[in-house]
Symmetry: C2
Subunit: 445 residues, 2 copies
């Protein structure tokens, strides 16, 4: 695909929060915009656990990229897998499509799951990064109860009714709370031979406390709130071994058939495509305007980038960071097209963070304000109802939430996937180091 | 699993319309009821094409069997694959669960897809029988447009934008209409390089007319209505060959990458389990009370059974037939438990049939009344809104439908399945003869 004569082409790889924000900021700048993603949809990942536990439908939290950018006539959306970049020739290679020329490139490729060097765990543990993963988690949860109902060996039944979540960041906390509620409320009266309310839910965190990105007092609240739902919280319990029958964490071996992996991420290969310096988690080290060193026409943003903040620490892997960087980059490129070459360095504005525990508790930090409990949860609901606009009409999401709230999600407990969770999990990439799951969730991207 | 002392056990295999109706009719009879299904949900199959084309969510048309029967304390629901029956020992064998004793057995195992002896077509064509199939059809439809947008060879683009539906029964008619609407309305403005409205949709039917189970005048109306949506209808065009690049039907070879197979069904193996006489499509021939000849404690109902109607013809493969047989059987067994051994033979009551073409046309037959067009469509909507109650609240379905109607289904166009359609389609069973797809859809099950 050759560039138009006269119209500079900006190629954006990745339609997550960063790539989408960049495309929106660039429209009308005179550039031809090409946005490439492996899937056809933008995903509101922070609510993925709600799809995994059937409170929301996939279409409530995801929207086709084409549809979201329908009015941008200067933007072409392509579904395809980018296999590499040739920065010398200024070409992006897309599987089955071929080479796409660019004048400016934005890599917003995000992060994949990380197994910390234990790729074999992918056979046994289920991750939660994509809509497919959410379906796999959902099917695995419900199948465990179904299998337990049909088995007679008490040890097998106990292992089937033990759920281990690895990782005490927001995803792990939210998932553990949701599993406990599913067992104790949603499924409570559906079975004749097993007692779903007796299921064990164990949350293992390698660090000293849950929600490490939040103030310490909120970590304590989260642990307490999970305890009231019956979740057993183990801090300082790094997962050392996973197989089909058990998990070993912090020296303790737990018999379980259900392991959910929310423990770490690994940046997708933007750095290796550019042959650029990378941090331990694979993220490409970038300059203060997010460009790759020595390549002012190439930018890396979001989870794929290692951006040193004012304190020297890298910015957390949050939707808010990616989104702000995308907007910043789009505006920077638009200014360049008008002949303005200078730019202020990127600065992240923290507008607040939040996480939920179960269906009526949350923790919220906005500046110096800290909220917990039902007030925080109501605040969380309103913010997310607002943020989800654009995927579907708000009425549908509101009705779905209300229905799930009053009925504990009775409606959507269908096991549909016949693909094994292991096969799905096997799609994730190779692993390296701990990254961002201890970070809080963004409030406003 | 041994039967309770003193409580006779009725085992029902299959939680479709037949099995569910039987379980409902049996509750309170004093029997212990065990309902076994391969999935955890009851599916309202007549609306599956709406999930395939994203007008409805899976949870709108399916509900967990446990949840539907939650109040029946005498009923145990098991998810498992029945591998065989030993009628001499009165045992059902369930994969991974073991042997389950019965005093009375109801086989309501339904029908699978039939390839008419061409199992190799499963590699290229997508079927529409389960929620997984609906997801595969949906992903295949949307992926075709995405791939076409990224390709430059005009012949490849044309083959990607040609959709062939095999089978002119209600499923084929409804699917072809929905694909045409998806291309012409929903996707019309989303692409930059291709024109989705120029996509070809071709419906091939081996017989002389569409909707063979309906009066001839309604077949003509359906053909006309499909024509106004741009669907090319080929009657007398039996599919002779399918490969990855083309379909040959009625002597004509059509270059296409997208084939949807709605042409025939094959009864699941109740007859072979019982070593009983079967019709050409594999359905077990049954006596006037639906029992297997020589085995008064074993009943076969629904699509798995070949029940000779008053005219000597077998009853059609409709939800209404299965449902009425299930209720009849449940009541018959309940009477036997009270010591009443005599029973009137089963009689099917035809309460009406209907099918839709696109989002505002339908055909309806109720007794001598025949409706077409918008009036028929409104009637169809009301009936289905009523029938779907129990899966989810009606408000959600109503909002989903309204939303899809006014926006042409903008909300739910997400490609999520990474499983290939061929792999999914490969799950279907081996093939034999034409069965019920020329039959109309039931009005009231």
């Amino acid at each position: 695909m050759q560039a138009d004569h006269g119209r500079p082409r900006v190629v954006i790889v990745g339609a997550g929060f960063g790539g989408l924000a960049a495309a929106r900021a660039l429209t009308g700048s005179g550039a031809e915009i090409v946005l490439i993603d492996r899937t056809n949809h933008h995903l509101f990942q922070p609510l993925l656990y709600q799809v995994a536990t059937a409170a929301l439908a996939p279409s409530d939290i995801a929207g086709p990229v084409r549809s979201l950018l329908r009015r941008q006539k200067d933007t072409t959306v392509l579904m395809g897998e980018v296999t590499g970049v040739d920065p010398a020739r200024r070409v992006v290679n897309v599987s089955d499509v071929g080479a796409i020329d660019y004048d400016t490139l934005i890599l917003a490729t995000g992060a994949a799951n990380s197994w910390f060097g234990h790729d074999e765990w992918a056979r046994y543990a289920t991750v939660l990064k994509s809509l497919d993963d959410a379906a796999a988690v959902h099917d695995r949860l419900l199948s465990a109860f179904e299998l337990a109902e049909s088995r007679s060996d008490p040890e097998e039944v106990a292992a089937l009714l033990t759920f281990v979540v690895s990782g005490g960041g927001p995803t792990g906390v939210e998932l553990a709370g949701a599993i406990a509620e599913l067992a104790r409320f949603t499924l409570a009266r559906d079975f004749r031979r097993i007692r779903p309310g007796g299921a064990r839910v164990i949350l293992c965190e390698a660090g000293p406390r849950l929600l490490a990105g939040f103030p310490t007092s909120l970590s304590g609240y989260a642990e307490h709130a999970l305890g009231t739902l019956g979740v057993e919280v183990r801090v300082g319990a790094r997962v050392e071994h996973i197989d089909g029958d058990s998990v070993t964490a912090g020296g303790e071996t737990i018999a379980t058939r259900n392991v959910f992996w929310c423990a770490g991420t690994q940046a997708r290969p933007a750095a290796s495509w550019l042959e650029a310096d990378a941090a331990r988690n694979g993220a490409a080290k970038v300059l203060p305007d997010c460009s790759a060193p020595g390549r002012p026409e190439v930018f890396v943003i979001g989870d794929a980038a290692h951006f040193a903040g004012r304190d020297g620490q890298p910015l957390p892997g949050l939707a808010a960071v990616a989104s702000q960087q995308g907007t910043y980059e789009g505006e920077l490129i638009a200014r360049r097209l008008r002949g303005i070459q200078t730019a202020k360095p990127f600065r992240y504005r923290d507008r607040g963070t939040l996480a939920t525990i179960g269906r009526s508790r949350a923790v919220v930090v906005v500046g110096r304000v800290r909220l917990t409990g039902t007030v925080a949860w109501l605040f969380w609901s309103l913010v997310h109802l607002f943020l989800l606009a654009g995927f579907r009409n708000r009425l549908v999401v509101y009705v779905n939430w209300s229905w799930a709230w009053f009925t504990y999600g009775r409606g959507a407990r269908l096991i549909t996937g016949l693909t094994s969770p292991a096969a799905r999990a096997g799609k994730t990439e190779t692993a390296a180091t701990h990254h961002d799951e201890s970070q809080p969730r963004q409030l406003v991207p």
